[in-house]
């Protein structure tokens, strides 16, 4: 499966009350275009999506917080998944979309194949954990289990390295903050 197909498949499970953080580059674009708005679309701060998601999860214990991160971003901030698992917020879900590449900058390879995600996630004792190749006939079940688990959850999906031609996110980051904080104030 392609990354945007996984992201599009998430749509059925996302409600207005959910909070999504997307890592910079293509993933933020795809989340912006395919899932309900507004969310926290990171445009920079490579390596920090899990950290930002942890902050959001701790500050909004009654909302589900879903981090959608590329492998390059995940590896750059790998310590943050240890920090997140130290606190294990029940509402935090980390989805790693692994195309084994820095796709956004031209598809250069990452060191991702050296990591046994299954063992790594296992060692963090996430109550929900899964590591596999994304497949069309199982994606619905995988996403629904992952997103509806009432626990700290990590899902690692190997995806095809590809992208859609999508418009850039039209909002300036200051507007992303305005839109998003507006949503948060209505939630609480």
């Amino acid at each position: 499966m392609k990354g945007f197909e996984v992201i599009t498949a998430m749509k059925d499970y996302i409600s207005e009350k959910d909070i999504i953080i997307s890592s910079n580059g293509n993933i933020s674009r795809e989340v912006y275009h395919h899932l309900p708005q507004p969310q926290v679309y990171l445009r920079g701060s490579m390596g920090l999506p899990v950290a930002v998601g942890l902050g959001l999860a701790l500050a909004n214990p009654n909302n589900r917080v879903i981090v959608v991160t590329g492998d390059g971003n995940f590896l750059m901030g790998m310590g943050s998944s240890v920090t997140a698992s130290f606190y294990k917020p029940k509402n935090l879900k980390i989805l790693i979309l692994d195309n084994k590449s820095y796709f956004t900058t031209g598809g250069q390879q990452t060191v991702s194949p050296a990591l046994n995600y299954s063992k790594f996630i296992d060692s963090l004792n996430a109550e929900y954990k899964n590591s596999k190749e994304a497949s069309k006939d199982q994606i619905k079940e995988d996403l629904s289990r992952f997103l509806n688990s009432n626990t700290f959850a990590m899902l690692h999906l190997i995806i095809e390295a590809s992208k859609e031609n999508l418009e850039n996110i039209p909002w300036h980051p200051e507007n992303i903050t305005k839109e998003f904080t507006g949503k948060i104030s209505k939630l609480s």
Partner: protein, 167 residues
């Protein structure tokens, strides 16, 4: 030295979260935080890196809550992108409490010499307004920093010299 109880009580009134990576200069304050964990209204989150701490704080601030991040000035070398492409770019107000290592009392710690020399220049280059925390005037310095943080909706810094928050 600033009284830890008074300092933490000030933080408690202004922030819901405190997050960071330790420096010896914060030892007393961090002991106080650990010892009073259960009765404090201030959630202390441990971090593995200073940019991660700023990421966590950003998540808190995106939620309409307040966060303070503590770090050694070595950590200032780790946060350039978290500052410029996250906290400043997205207009996320937060306080950075940074130890000012590498001054006279640190002469036997050459690892701090160079950052100590450029510390203020680095903050200026990043356009981060800063105040140096003093034992006698810390409350007004903190209030000035908070005021600027709110006005600019951006990170501000407080520099902490040796002996100010820990002996």
């Amino acid at each position: 030295m600033i009284d830890s109880a008074a300092f933490i009580s000030f933080l408690e009134k202004n922030f819901q979260f405190i997050c960071g990576v330790p420096c010896t200069y914060f030892k007393k304050m961090l002991i106080f935080l650990a010892e009073h964990k259960s009765e404090l209204q201030l959630q202390h989150i441990l971090a593995t890196r200073e940019d991660e701490a700023m990421g966590i704080a950003s998540g808190v601030v995106f939620s309409g809550k307040q966060a303070i991040v503590y770090m050694q000035n070595s950590g200032l070398g780790n946060v350039g992108d978290a500052l410029t492409s996250l906290a400043q770019l997205y207009k996320l107000p937060m306080v950075l409490l940074i130890s000012y290592r590498g001054l006279e009392s640190d002469r036997s710690f050459p690892e701090h010499d160079i950052m100590g020399e450029v510390n203020e220049a680095v903050l200026k280059a990043f356009n981060v307004p800063y105040w140096i925390l003093s034992e006698s005037g810390w409350e007004s310095e903190m209030n000035l920093a908070l005021k600027e943080m709110k006005n600019s909706s951006s990170p501000v810094a407080l520099l902490v010299k040796d002996g100010v928050l820990s002996e």
